[in-house]
Amino acid sequence: MSSEVKKTESYVEKPKSLAELRAEIASGRTKAADLAASYYERIARANPRLNVYLSLTKERALEQAERVDALAEKGDPLPELAGVPVAIKDVLVMQGAPSTAGSKILQGYRPPYDATAVAKLDAAGAVLLGKLNCDEFAMGSSTENSAYGPVRNPVDPERVPGGSSGGSAAAVAANLAVATLGSDTGGSIRQPASFCGVVGVLPTYGRVSRYGLIAFASSLDRVGPFAANVRDAATMLGAIAGHDPKDATSSAAPVPDYAAQSDRPVEGLRLGVPVEYFAEGLDDEVRAAIESGIVALKAAGCTVVPVSLPHTRYAVPTYYLVATAEASANLARFDGVRYGYRSAASESLSALYSHSRDEGFGAEVKRRILLGTYALSAGYYDAYYLKAQQVRRLLAEEYLRAFAEVDAIVTPTSPVPAFKLGEKTGDPLAMYLADIYTVTASLAGICGVTVPCGTTQAGLPVGMQVLAGHLQEGTAFRVARAVEAAGL
């Protein structure tokens, strides 16, 4: 690591692997209750600076840990994630625990149910430590839009962790949880994972139930895991994936053993590198790191070929129209009537709605609601929203054609490394590329994994995004493992 990062404070610490923890807990060498306590101590020390956690769920965590220890003591078989300390992005509901979605409009709200992904982790024995900070309603790419203050990047606390799942990425990077859940609508898992130097998974749309995910854009939202290594990310996905009758868009496709699939060597795989992604705006050091990753993949036996996705540039306007339109509909429910923030003394019902929303929502959320409302308003729906959905089909078909030629597509996850808080990368070309890298996959419904792929001279992490076709997470994990093994 270079001297520049050593000068600044670094909170980076790599969590133990799931395999190592399982061995310790099963043997009784480590008590799950002690492990949880040690994580709460670490959180108490680091959270004032990093602002990763919004709330802690100590009672539930310790109850679960004690259950796990009782099983281990009797020598009973342990569920897959027994005793593993995990944490949940605050857009996913945990029964009885605060769920703010990073917004003031849900301050104090305690959901009466668990999200399906949360319930599955619980059933797998995971110890749920608390709720993680994020951009308000998952809208943002730096976690600076949280109504509860930004999260700081553990690699360099003067920098952003990325967003909107900034807390989820930072928690793993700083070992304040072994693995976490986040959500990705236009890059909100992939980009922060890349900024923080951890692994992030974008599951195929419908792979993981959205029941209990506070919705941003329903046709784009995905729930996905963060972990410190690819195999553990694969295990986490296996634990939360599967059909859910409570989510009409969830896929009934069987859930394979992703961890085992990730073990398979990559020799003989064909990888595509999209020419449109290597354009002006891509930081030189990021480009160099990704090129090293590609060299490593070739050395591991992959064939790498250029591919062209000519409709790529239309992904950005398509995404902005679709995502904001759906957000305006999803956020209509926050009106001060049934839950959350209600403005004091409103003279009419109409005023109650607008005052509550005005006072409860942040500026970026309001902006996106207005854009979406405009795109859907009478007279414009066909020309704007419907047109965008037509272009979306063209984009998706372009990916399907590409995946007929190659097994996976590799790209930088972000054109730039983590920028400084308040800086908001100034270069419009870079910002445009940043969107392109992530939203195209979001629109097409395909899956991907971001894996650490080296650092810049200043020690800032660079991530490589491995995209695969619908329900081909196994392939993405395999390629990501090969990059990880290269130890760049």
Partner: protein
Amino acid sequence: MTVKVTVEDVERVAELAHLELAAEETPRMRHDLNAILDYVAELNELDTSGVTPLAQASELLHAEAGKLRADLVRPSLDRAVVMAQAPETDQAFFKVPKVIER
């Protein structure tokens, strides 16, 4: 051809969205709504005649999309639990300012 968004458009959209914009917020919002028109202009470069809109990516998975559950009455959320989260309630209903003027 490029329709420019007016202040009235901004106010109408704000009303539809049940949001109140402060006077100083309106120019920026007008500028941002204009950007939407630029996005749309870009998309109009593409000929999409005959292209079916893709509203649900899951359609491409040839998944069991559209499978509906049986229409059966089942217990829902416990009323008391829900009302515990309400800003103002008489425990049966949510209370709001009077809607109908006499």
